[in-house]
Structures are given as structure tokens and as C-alpha cells.
Symmetry: C2
Subunit: 336 residues, 2 copies
Amino acid sequence: MAGIADVAARAGVSKATASRALSGVGYVSEATKGRVRRAAEELGYVPSAGAVGLATGRTQNIGVVMPYVNRWFFAEVLEGIQQALLERGLDLTLYDAKPGTTGRARIFNDFLARKRFDGLIAVGLEPVDRELELLTRIDRPIVSVVGSSELTSVVAVDDDYAACRATEHLIALGHRDIVFVGGAPRSHWAHVDQQRLAGYQRAMHDAGLSEYVRHAHSEVSLPGGYGAAADLLGDTRNRPTAIVGVCDEVAIGAMIAARRLAMQVPGDLSVVGIDDHEFAEMFALTTLQQIPREQGRSAVEVLLAEIADPERERTELRMPARLIVRSSTAPVRSPA
Amino acid sequence: MAGIADVAARAGVSKATASRALSGVGYVSEATKGRVRRAAEELGYVPSAGAVGLATGRTQNIGVVMPYVNRWFFAEVLEGIQQALLERGLDLTLYDAKPGTTGRARIFNDFLARKRFDGLIAVGLEPVDRELELLTRIDRPIVSVVGSSELTSVVAVDDDYAACRATEHLIALGHRDIVFVGGAPRSHWAHVDQQRLAGYQRAMHDAGLSEYVRHAHSEVSLPGGYGAAADLLGDTRNRPTAIVGVCDEVAIGAMIAARRLAMQVPGDLSVVGIDDHEFAEMFALTTLQQIPREQGRSAVEVLLAEIADPERERTELRMPARLIVRSSTAPVRSPA
DNA sequence: TCCCCGTAGGGAACCGGTTCCAGGACAAAG
DNA sequence: CTTTGTCCTGGAACCGGTTCCCTACGGGGA
């Protein structure tokens, strides 16, 4: 209710001085500064965000676009971003852009154009061409988390490396018939999938196991992994001895399916994932750890640096995943 | 870049007329309306949100406060809210207020006071007294999802009823030794927990099973339910024949723990949850369904009505949960 | 003594919209 | 022919801050 004019009046100074006293820029004597601060305190003065934005051109608000929020990875990234922004007093406006929905189209056409934010973090967005063009039109800094992009900064795990290490781990345990269970080739997860699939393939080829390369399609979710593995393992004459899940959710789904089919994990089947999902420990899943929460924090840092210095060159942060061995993997059982 | 002054100039009218033409209020001839619209289109005009907010007092933005986003229920509610807002062209600012953190204190002290929103949706917030007082200070409409509150509107499932139905289902199957696995008495889930616990107790008492009433403490999460059930079922001489989980995540955790202990579900142990979580189907969990996404949508509707009419009396929407029988529950095995 | 500079503070323009109010044109009613 | 009312439009105030520019004062150096 109380505006800066009220504060100024109460402190017996002009609006200009009140503004300077509160923001700390420009010359104001300590005495006046104190009076203004006290007046503001007494009136419970809170500056109007809209007016500040209008006058300064800074909204003190960061936009976040993501296709899902009800998935572990996205939710964790979101929390990391939120925490980092909170510490800096910045707001976070969320845009939930599910691929293929009219809502997504509206977000790109209308919402982002409103530019209610000083910068944008795009998480796993995988924008199509037209969307990419719309993104470039809003001239605000953008940081991508997951995926790749020539025109924005990127914060992500090294997907190729992670999948490669996961596969090598299985190979070192003597496995040869290893199946990669992952997303559809053209889903919105495309880039991540491709990178991880590529890492798996590279490891297989490098180990001379080219003939064993196999890829089972799966929705990228726990039920998806369950379904895909149920299909895969249902063919009892063609069962692999190990599975690389494109992510932990798929890997865990596969473990559940295996158990449902009376297979022992890791006795009959080794399973490795990528993520270190919150359920990984409970399922004793061997996995390659990434820490999405920290990716969120890093994305904020990069973005704020770009907002502060628009000339800053784009950065690309690829974090290495760490292998965490639990008990979903074991040496291959000697062939019959 | 282009402002309404540019649009007005290009259309050969005043700012006032341009504003009226675009917003549709007041008298503007069809001819000028057309010219203005075309000019706006050609210039790619997008009104500045800050300026609009300043002039109208409406931010076209809704605040959402929740303690978690990485939990199924919260994420679903959030998506429901987002969808409903998207359709109406409103933005959503997210505040992630984890209980007991300094971040939460900042949200209540600083962020909410900024009033960057026309209304607030509080999801499962369980505010402590001081927080409640701060909430009342921001004089904007507030709708609570989950929990109860005398001073805000509420949208929630009927928790007492849901837990009662769940318990009755087990009793009807012949179970008597039924344990309620739920949250800590004083956790942030307090109100929901209490209601559900009360529903369970009511059903037990009504069936004359007072002597069997038992409550096992559990973190409200899948691993939490796993841990609690592992403890509970570890005592092999005192095993119940059925479990009511305070929510599906806990119930599923309990199922996993039971299987790990070589118990058959539902042969040796029946389990029922509340939620109809996305994993419920996969685990064949019998549950009482609530649809958090719709609660989110409803919350938006109630909130917008209150924004439109500040005199509107507060509403309380309690949705009944529907029993979905899957195969985690079965008639009790005849006692040895 | 004069001038310059650092410090302090006020007036007013400005950010980009919305809206109140006044005024003109024109048609219908008196 | 005047009055009244409806439709259309422009000027200007306003929302609530920030910031530019100008004035004033006191002290130090030339």
C-alpha cells in the first residue's frame, strides 16, 4: 500500500533521495539513509515489482521452460534452480511445455514473447525448428539444461561418456549379450537418447561385440521400462544377460519386470542405469550418477553471468557421471 | 521493442485509441480498430507486462507455494494449475518452500510481500502460526489445496473418508490385524495424516476392532514406506495381515519391503493405498483414487472467481475418493 | 581570494501502458 | 432550430518507481 512517496514524506526527503537511500546508489548521507530506512520499515514499504521493472528494465525474474515437472530429473533440476534463485532474491516463472500440445504452442507464441523475465532456462526442451526461431527472437540470455544447442549455453551431463562407462562396467563383468533399453528415436528425448545410445554402441564396438548391439524401444519412464523389459525378456530363448537402461527409471522398471518373470537380479540379469534416481538405492541399482539439482544451480550461475554481461561468450558445461556400483550387477553366469 | 506509441503512430491514432482498440473496451470504430490491429501485427507489438501491471493493478500472474515439487502429488497438482492458467493466458510464479529452511522464511518474509501475483495457491503448505499471519497480510485471495484452513478456500480430497473406505475394504475381506503406516505426528503433512489416521481409526472402531488399531511411523515417501514396513514386518511374530498406507508411495514401499521379506502380496499381506499414483497400476495396487491434476484445475477456478469478486465467500471443495480394486488385496488367509 | 571538486539532495522526465475527461460529429427527438 | 444522446477520438493524468540534471554547500589547492 505504502509507496516510496509515502516513505519519502515520512522521512522528510524527496522521492529521489528515498530511492537512492534504499537502493544504495548515489550520494546519500548516513543520517538520511537511516531516517529513510526507518520510515520504510515503519510503513512496511515494499517496492512495486512492476514499477521497478518498468523503470529499470530488469524484472528480477527468471523463466524456466520444461516439458515435464512430474519426472524425477526435471523436478530435481527445478528445485536446484529455485534454490539458487531464492538465495539471490529472484523470482521464478514456470512454463510447462509438453511437446505437441496447444499449450506448448501458446507458450512459444505468446508467453515467452511477453518477456516477463531477464533470462530463460530451458530444461530438456528439444525445440523444433520453428520453436528455436521463436526462442532466438526473444533477445534474452538462454541456458539449456540437457541436450545441445549451438546458440545457447548448455549445462548437462556427458551422456555419451555415461552410457559408455555403464556398458564397459558390464563388459568388464564378462557380459556380452547386453541390450540398451531406451527412448524412441524421434521422441522429445531424442538428443539425450541418441548420445546415450551412441555411448553404448561405442563401448560395444570397442570391445568387439558389434554383433550383440541391440536396442529395445521404451517410453522414458518406470512403467515404460517395465513394459519394454517385459517384452524383451518374455522371449525366453533370446534373453540378454545384461541391460543398460537409458535412465534409472527405465532400469528400475526393467528390474521389476525381470523379478515378475522370476529372474534373479543380478543372478540371471544384470541391470545398470544412468541418473542415481532417488529410488536407485532402494532397488540397489548400479548406476552412473548425475546430480540434476546441481545442474540447476549451475544453470542459474551461467545465466546470471550472461545477464550481467550480454557480450559473454556462450559456455558449455559437461559434467562427468560417476559410477556407483550397487548390487544389480554381477559377473555373468558361466554360459550353459 | 515496439511500444504502443509506435503502434499508435503507425495507425495514425493516439495512444489512448490504440489502447482501446487492442483491449476492446470503450468506443472505437471498426475501421480504426482494424488499422490499429494491423499496425500492431506488423510491428510485432507485445504489451509490456510491467507497464500493464502498473497501470491496471493486475499482474496476470498467479503465485503457487508448495513445499515440494519432486513428489508425485505436488507435481501433478502443479501441472493441473499450469494447464488451467495457460488456457487463460496467465503466468505462474513458483515458490518452493521447504519446511524449516531459511529459503522458506525468505519466501514468507520477502517474496510473498512483493505481491507479484493477483492470487495465491498454497499446496500442502501447513503454515505455522507466524507464516499464517504473514499470509493474511498480503491481501490477495488465497486457495489451499490439501489441508484445511479457516481463512482460505480449500480444494482437497476427503481424507477421512478415503482412509475409512480403504480400511473398510480390508475389513470386508476378513482382515482384522490391520496396521496404518503413515507420517510422523508433527511432520508438515500433519493435517492430512491426522485425517487419514482418523478415518482408519473410525473404521476400525466401527467394526469393533479397537484392540487392533496400530500405527507405524513412516516418512511420506516410497523409501520411507519401505523402511517402515521392513521394520514392521521384520518382527515375524507380530505381523499384520494387512496394511493401509497413508498414500500410494508408502503403500508401494511397503509392498516392495514385503516381497523382499519373501512375503506374498496379497497372499500373506494385503496392501491398500490412497492416491492412485502413476505407479499404482504397475504394482497392481488397490487404492482410493484422487486426481490431483483436477484439484489443481479446480483451485485455479476458485481463485479466479475470488479475484474477480473479492467479496465472494470462501468455498470448500472436498472431493470423494473412489475405490479402485486391483490385486494387492485379497481375502485374509484363514488363521493357522 | 577564486575556483574546483566531492558530497548531498531536489525537481522533473521517463519507463509503457490505461483511463478519465472533454470535445466534436452526427442523428434523432422536441 | 435547438437540445439531447450516442459514438468516436485525443490530451493528459496516473500507476510507482529510477535516474538525469541541476543547485548548493563546504573545504582544499593555486
